[in-house]
Amino acid sequence: MDFLNAIIAVANYVLVPGIAYGSQLALGALGVTLIYGILRFSNFAHGDTMAFGAMVTVLATWWLQSIGVSLGPLPTALLALPIGILGCIGLLLATDRLVYRFYREKKAKPVILVIVSMGVMFIMNGIVRFIIGPDDQQFLDGERFLISARTFREMTGLDEGLAIRSTQAITLVTAVVVVALLFWFLNRTRAGKSMRAYSDNEDLALLSGVNPERVVMLTWIIVAALATTAGVLYGLDKSFKPFTYFQLLLPIFASAIVGGLGNPLGAIAGGFVIAFSEVTITYAWKKVLGYLLPDSLAPDGLVQLLSTDYKFAVSFVILLIVLLFRPTGLFKGQSV
């Protein structure tokens, strides 16, 4: 019984949150890795892109709520998500037209684009704060739990409860659907293949009749969809606050690099590696060990390896270890 309780405790505090957080990071890292593969720079504005898409979704959710539209047990935000994605697509295409395209025509080196993306980051950060303010925003409605801890205890008769919040379930389902769609698109469609080809070898893609501007436009559209989805899922699961999206930049970059920059499969793997490391290392294992060990050996302290404030440090250390032993990341990075 104690053993079962220990497993449930691990599932409740490590597994379920880790999967949800991992999915969110994976979606974020996919966007970063696509831009790295096709536009060939690391986009510092990605966190703020997520914030912008999520903000449009939040505003649309509020509007839908105000006119009385809801999805019943599901959050209204899912209904507002397409609006958010459209808004984000608009922003990214406008940014590309007004900012990035000039540097492509000048054949600027990717490092210059990185600096440009810093400027875009400042601007997007400013826009989001200007429109919705820097504070926490609530936009979650619908059923709170898929299974609440109490229901689970009553069902199983165990001491430990396993709570699965509906946002966590939605995160996983949405992430699986989005990733499946993305991979289908990249590997099975003509446009997707042209993106991979452009990423692999720009000049040869040109020789094959691929229009670079079209590839770039497609990329921004996909990135907008990924970023908005990731941002909304994170916001539903935690809460919407512009600054946290900016802070997500480090774990997202870490995920993309751990997986192998430019490799979409790697981005997903990296997202989960980083998420589970963070959750595992900052979780207080006292309870689990209490179940597993005889009373005499039960730990006094929390048995928390590092305080939760060090979670960014964890992403970074994992990143460093992976790079030391596998310089190209878990999956060989380079092309989409």
């Binding site: 720079f41 690391s42 692999d200 070898n201 720009e202 000049d203």
Partner: protein, 274 residues
């Protein structure tokens, strides 16, 4: 470079900038139109002058052409501008003077994509395959501009290069040098081009494979596709050429039929090693 505000200052940081796959071409921008220019050879780059970026001219009043049913070969010492001439004909380099005409049309203002649509196929010297994609995907990318069913063409290419059929689901980057070149040529043939341009198709392959590649190129030419080719192995190439050009420092030094050039005393001494 400090003089280039869009340069990278020698930064090699792979965590922020992707060093792979980036383009170096300075293609003719899209939006240009072709104008009728009847007469002349099937494909001709006439009096071409140009260079990269703001750099000096590499081509000086250079002319190369190929007509239907011909194999034309460009030879010359290293740095003579052979590859640059090919790029210029294909619109991967914006010309400062001169023009390119194809099949009775002036196509100087067309972008490379539009030239592909007009029926030109080009196999660059290096990086001429999509290394991370399978052989079949490489061929599919070759047919990117086609909207009709191209499975017949793909079968023809598998018949021409049987080894590719066996390796169709393998990543092209994992193949041997000779096989890669076959993928590269196959990709260019997928559009069913009206003219094929090859930039040193035998670079870096063993002599046996080289002979086989030449045979294949002759096979392609027999199907009626004119071929314009740059070659390091000048003697062998001129033997199969209907027309030959010797470029020196970006300008035409000698031209004539392959046999004439092989017989020419000066050409033999200077470029064919006696």
């Amino acid at each position: 470079m400090s003089s280039d505000p869009y340069g990278d200052r020698g930064n090699k940081d792979v965590s922020i900038a992707n060093p792979r796959g980036g383009g170096s071409a300075e293609p003719v921008r899209g939006g240009g139109t072709a104008t009728a220019a009847p007469g002349g050879p099937f494909l001709i780059g006439e009096a071409m002058t140009g260079g990269y970026g703001k750099g000096p001219d590499i081509l000086h009043d250079c002319t190369i052409s190929v007509d239907k049913g011909e194999i034309a070969v460009i030879v010359g010492p290293n740095g003579a501008g052979k590859s640059t001439a090919m790029k210029a004909v294909f619109g991967m380099l914006d010309l400062r003077a001169g023009n390119v005409r194809l099949n009775g049309e002036d196509i100087t203002a067309l972008s490379p994509q539009d030239r592909v649509a007009k029926g030109m196929g080009f196999v660059p010297q290096t990086n001429n395959i999509f290394a991370s994609m399978t052989v079949e995907e490489n061929l599919e990318m070759g047919a990117f501009i086609r909207t009709d069913d191209y499975s017949g063409t793909m079968e023809q290419i598998y018949d021409l290069f049987p080894i590719l059929r066996d390796k169709r689901h393998q990543a092209a980057g994992e193949l041997s040098g000779g096989q890669r070149q076959q993928v590269a040529v196959g990709r260019a043939l997928m559009t069913q081009p009206k003219v094929l341009m090859l930039d040193e198709p035998t670079a870096g392959v063993s002599p046996i494979v080289m002979d086989e590649l030449f045979d294949r190129i002759i096979d392609v030419a027999r199907t009626g596709i004119p071929i314009l080719m740059v070659e390091q192995n000048a003697r062998q190439a001129l033997e199969i050429a209907d027309k030959g050009y010797v470029l020196v420092q970006g300008a035409n030094a000698y031209s004539g039929t392959g046999k004439d050039l092989l017989a020419d005393e000066d050409v033999r001494k200077s470029f064919l090693g006696g």
